[in-house]
């Protein structure tokens, strides 16, 4: 039992923190968001240079063979700095699917991810699917050696700048059947792919995507075209684990700027941080942060569980805690700031918005609480 970082992990943390400190202050971030596509190719290039984009891939695949703790370190840093680049979509989600793909598929796609030249997006949400990953109407019909995909996907993170889309589609069965789910690699510029991109509430980008009889080859299928739901679940859990870490980073910073603010802000001749009601709110935010951090650690540890039900349940529990802590810290930070907290001019509002969106991504706290309850709880 050891919660300290190893020497290599500490070096990784320092280097990510250093990079972001140098290139990602509040004003610069605005500029990145204003670039075409809504994020900075330049920053992305630096991520590639520092090896962040190849982190979780095996050395055989050209990566660094790092484990879940390394991804956690990176995601926390991205959370602290409100980074809008498509790390989650490309490295965690896209990479998560590819890590479980065939050698040919890995060889075809990973080098582009690792060197920063290609990005990916995970097209999964449908109009009526809510958080149910197996609730899929998009169809994949066998067509020669390949498939024809038709349907609509929504709120696809960075779907408007991705080179390759990963699309879940139904090869058989009814709308909510576990069997008959396939996972497909679709070039974003394939014929019949119609992408409508837009800004998201937290300053990032997403897209709604129509698939009109899009033809893909046999090499587009990841794994078994009729039994892909387990893959989808695993990759979604990868994303949840990463989001937990990102939220911890964002909460850490949200608490920090809030405490700084109430130390400086004066009312009635004293710093408002001297009022006990505000002190206790800040103390409760600290507790919310640290309990969330503990659960983020646990989620990252669960990443390597081989029992997938246990992995899923542990990650669900972590997402519940993160969701609740994120809401408490986000709202509390705004309240401590008072009026300026609801403006775009202070950092707290941006943390609050990102934390809120993390709650909504890949299942909110109630969704995951229901899953934990149905699984009989998590006390051994």
């Amino acid at each position: 039992m050891d919660f300290d970082l190893s020497e290599e992990q500490r070096l990784l943390k320092d280097s990510v923190d250093g990079l972001l400190k140098a290139s990602y202050d509040f004003e610069t971030r605005k500029k990145y968001r204003a670039e075409k596509g809504g994020w900075s190719k330049d920053v992305w290039g630096k991520f590639a240079e520092q090896g962040l984009l190849g982190l979780p891939f095996s050395e055989d695949d050209g990566g660094f063979g790092a484990g879940p703790i390394e991804t956690m370190i990176v995601m926390e840093a991205l959370g602290r700095n409100l980074v809008v680049e498509p790390y989650l979509d490309t490295v965690v989600l896209g990479g998560g699917v590819l890590r479980r793909a065939s050698a040919e598929q890995r060889a075809a796609h990973l080098p582009g991810i690792i060197d920063g030249s290609k990005t990916m997006a995970f097209a999964q949400v449908e109009r009526d699917s809510r958080y149910d990953l197996g609730d899929i109407k998009t169809s994949a019909k066998k067509s020669g050696a390949g498939y024809t995909l038709s349907g609509e996907k929504f709120v696809v993170g960075h779907g408007d700048t991705a080179d390759t889309l990963i699309v879940t589609a139904r090869t058989a069965g009814g709308q909510r059947d576990a069997k008959g789910v396939g996972v497909f690699l679709v070039p974003a510029n394939a014929k019949g792919v119609d992408i409508h991109g837009y800004e998201t509430q937290d300053g990032s980008r997403a897209a709604d995507i129509k698939l009109n009889n899009v033809e893909v080859g046999a090499d587009a299928v990841i794994g078994d075209a009729d039994n892909g739901l387990s893959l989808v679940n695993q990759v979604a859990d990868d994303a949840r684990i990463a989001l937990c870490a990102e939220a911890v980073g964002a909460m850490e910073e949200a608490l920090k700027v809030s405490v700084e603010y109430i130390k400086e802000r004066k009312q009635f001749g004293v710093a408002i941080g001297s009022f006990q009601a505000l002190q206790h709110r800040a103390a409760d935010m600290f507790t919310a942060l640290e309990t969330a951090r503990s659960m983020s650690f646990l989620a990252s540890m669960a990443s390597s569980f081989t029992d997938l039900d246990e992995r899923a349940k542990t990650v669900a529990a972590a997402k519940v805690q993160i969701g609740r802590s994120a809401r408490f810290v986000g709202q509390g930070g705004v309240q401590l700031h008072g009026g300026v907290g609801v403006t775009m001019e202070y950092r707290i509002g941006h943390y609050f918005k990102r934390l809120t969106m993390i709650e909504q991504q890949f299942g909110d706290a109630d969704f995951h609480l229901r899953r934990v309850a149905q699984a009989g709880g998590i006390t051994e």
Partner: protein
Amino acid sequence: MDLSFNPEEVAFREEVRTFFRESLDPVVRKKLQEGHHTSKDDLVNWQRTLNKKGWAVPHWPTEYGGTGWSAAKQYIFLEELQKTPAPPPLPFGVNMVGPVIYTFGNEQQKKHFLPRIANMDDWWCQGFSEPGSGSDLASLKTTAKKKGDTWIVNGQKTWTTLAQHADWIFCLCRTDPDAKKQSGISFILIDMKSKGITVRPIQTIDGGVEVNEVFFDDVVVPAENIVGEENKGWDYAKFLLGNERVNIARVGMSKERIRRIKELAGMVMSGDKPLIEDPQFRQKLAATEIELKALELTQMRVVAAEGKHGKGKPDPASSILKIKGSEIQQTLTELLLEVTGPFALPFAPEGDGRNEEGDWASPIAPGYFNYRKVSIYGGSNEIQRNIIAKAVLGL
């Protein structure tokens, strides 16, 4: 003790409800239901519709256009307005500067401003808060110096709601720099077209521009624009802030929000059933409905007491209305957010194609973000708890 409305009040509710439904532009009503912003014209047109009906300023004395309604009727009027939903009256004219003018202003001011407020010929905004002041309003620094027949105003106001549309601003200015904090402040009316005024919008986290900073740089104001006595402005401000708490509970609006949540949760699927059929969601909503019912009754107790015993000083127990009212409003924005699920993420600036009919989801997260303000403004909930502790419990 009789907790029901009498037949006259019930009939009145019906009359008001019918008039609102029939007279309000359905497009405006829909905007409000769906959480989209209303335009300046929407508000002005609606105020003039009310004014034509004689209902522009029901709570004013009858000599200035008031209706003479009982406290219960005024309560019904506001609740129905929010439930319709119709645009809420912009408070800066009818609830704030209007009452100050008819209570403390001179004849000239009453004659000129009051009818224009009722008909919204002038759009008013409020110049109280300053960057350094916040909850400690009396620490304000904007000055007005006498120079011949004029005041020369210098300083900065902030959180000035909708100043971008305003024709006039009522300001608290320090007129005696040597007096103690609350003394030496005057209440001055300033034409927003005056030279030396700059309005800078503050973008809020929902992406909207509702509030502004207003800068005064040697602004020349006619001496006659002071209300009441010089250096007595703090008393008028306290009077005004007492009125501000009228209907701060916003029960009618929360009822309309609940209707909307039920409508949307009946439409959004969770598995093979609409979300509204999920017992957990229904129980959360029911819990909030019960809190709202308790708030409504508490509000009615305050209204009934005012109706019977007269208004007098604001009841410190009305801090409950602010605390619970804001908490419930915030909870309802959280439930709406929950309904929205993954569709909370898309951001659609006003005017974007998405922000149109059928796009029910995109205003919801901004509404959640924006409503964090309701536990901050008008005396934060921390301040309200201080008030209860001190004024009610004697701590």
